[in-house]
């Protein structure tokens, strides 16, 4: 069904393309939000990715590759967002939103703050690989295709990003045992 929609969209069928947006929009938004840590910018990135996907759709030769191709456009749109607004909005604190995946009690306010800051220090490329693997669950080979880098590079970026975030939590959790008992 999906392949048929891709083929129809390639022929200029905007209704078919809208169905693809319905199918893939949530996943793309989830990825973009986690790379950008900002809902509005994530919406902009998703919209940009789908718009380019529509415009350039005839260039997609193999309809089976629509998914990775769309993800590549999305990641590039996220890079663009990060580059455009890197400095101007850098100090905006991103708060988690309510909803099915709202704040998790396991994550304290301090943890969230620590992780947000550590994540901001990662390069866009490290962020993308981390999110595509740990959030979207994509295999390294597919991530390599999406970000246009060798699998070894993807593996190394993933390792670095994960270690950086772990280290931030561990450094932040060096608490006095007396304080821990009182808590």
């Amino acid at each position: 069904m999906r392949t048929r929609l891709v083929e129809r969209a390639r022929e200029g069928d905007d209704v078919a393309f809208s169905e693809l947006v319905d199918l893939d929009g949530d996943v793309c938004y989830g990825i973009a939000f986690r790379i950008l840590r900002d809902a509005m910018r994530a919406q902009d990135a998703v919209q940009q990715a789908f718009l380019i996907a529509w415009r350039e759709h005839p260039r997609l030769r193999d309809p089976e590759r629509f998914g990775p191709w769309l993800h590549r456009l999305l990641v590039n749109a996220c890079y663009e967002e990060l580059r455009r607004y890197r400095r101007w909005n850098a100090n905006i604190r991103v708060l988690p939103v309510d909803g099915p995946s709202g704040p998790d009690p396991i994550v304290s306010v301090d943890d969230r703050d620590t992780l947000d800051r550590a994540f901001q220090r990662l390069t866009p490329e490290h962020r993308a690989v981390f999110v595509l693997h740990h959030h979207a669950g994509l295999p390294l080979a597919e991530i390599a295709e999406i970000v246009g880098a060798p699998v070894g590079t993807v593996k190394s970026r993933l390792h670095y990003a994960t270690q950086s975030l772990r280290a931030a939590i561990v450094a932040d959790s060096q608490v006095d045992p007396q304080e821990a008992r009182l808590a």
Binding site: R10, G12, D14, S18, V21, G25, D26, C28, Y29, G30, F33, R34, A39, A42, Q43, V46, Q47, L51, W54, R55, E56, H57, P58, R59, R61, D62, Y79, L82, R83, R84, Y85, R86, R87, W88, A90, P96, V97, G99, S101, P103, D104, I106, V107, D111, R112, L115, R121, L122, T123, E125, V131, L165, R166, I169, V170, S173, Q174, V175, P177, A180
Partner: protein, 282 residues
């Protein structure tokens, strides 16, 4: 003695937090966009899928490619060839991004590496911000369009590989501010305060015949960048060089920034909304 927690469950929960559904408003915006955007049309002879090559076809195509390269190479190296770039043809002593690659006149020289960024052959004048600059061939210059890509507007210069990005802008300096402080707090606003020294301690640099300041590669991730600022009368200029795909060395980035700086000239009086100039560019 410290209590150490397992970071992985916290990390997983943090990553899981956040919206899961694309807002309807965004879906509608996409629907409107695609209805008003034409698709790129490909020539009808292009196949829907890339043709599957048989073993023989693949070898035949490879052989044709090899023959074409050999014949082309012999033609270019033929003595007395009048083709630009051929041995014996007119050579250019200065590498230019707009000229064809030229072969060396010596018989067997070691190949010299291409410079990472070509010569500054393209000119750009900003009527909005009141400056002119030259940039390399192959780069894309995008004049500001209102608040894009930066609130308040900025011109952008992007390399062909979309790695390097130079952002240029200027702003009228409000009355009653300490200029250096205002520049650091508004134009050079940083997410890492430790990376942003007071402007009067930043390195001095000459831009367009005037003294400005340059802030070197401070190494802050994810935005290692170089910034140059200059004040002309009641207008402040900011030029920021990013590298977004790979992290270049500080020397490499500074060298490229210096190349841009040598091409910049100013006309603050021509910038939109400028007061009468109190300094004229050289």
């Amino acid at each position: 003695m410290n209590v150490q927690r397992d970071p992985d469950p916290i990390l997983a929960a943090w990553l899981h937090e956040g919206p899961t559904r694309l807002p309807d408003a965004t879906r509608r915006a996409i629907a409107v966009s695609i209805r008003t955007t034409r698709q790129t049309r490909l020539p009808s002879w292009l196949p829907w899928r890339a043709p599957t090559l048989t073993g023989m076809t693949r070898y035949a195509l490879a052989a044709v490619a090899v023959v074409a390269v050999v014949v082309g190479g012999l033609y270019l190296l033929k003595p007395g060839s009048s083709q630009p770039g051929g041995v014996g043809g007119p050579g250019s002593p200065v590498p230019s991004a707009s000229s064809s690659p030229s072969a060396s006149p010596t018989p067997s020289p070691p190949p010299s590496p291409e410079p990472p960024v070509g010569a500054m052959t393209q000119a750009f004048t900003s009527p909005t911000f009141g400056y002119a600059i030259r940039y390399p061939a192959g780069w894309t210059a995008t004049a500001t369009t209102g608040d894009a890509p930066t609130p308040g507007g900025a011109d952008g210069f992007e390399s062909a590989a979309k790695g390097w990005y130079l952002r240029a802008l200027s702003r009228a300096i409000p009355d009653g501010v300490v200029v250096d402080d205002w520049i650091v707090q508004t134009l050079q606003k940083s997410d890492d305060p430790g990376c942003m020294p007071p402007r009067n301690t930043q390195e001095s640099v000459v831009i367009g015949g005037h003294e400005g300041r340059i802030l070197g590669f401070c190494g802050v991730l994810p935005a290692p960048q170089i910034e140059a600022t200059i004040v002309l009368g009641k207008r402040a200029y900011l030029f920021t060089l990013f590298e977004t795909q790979e992290t270049p060395s500080a020397e490499e980035a500074r060298a490229l920034m210096d190349r841009f700086i040598t091409t910049i000239t100013f006309g603050p009086a021509s910038a939109e909304g400028s007061p009468a100039p109190s300094a004229s560019p050289s």
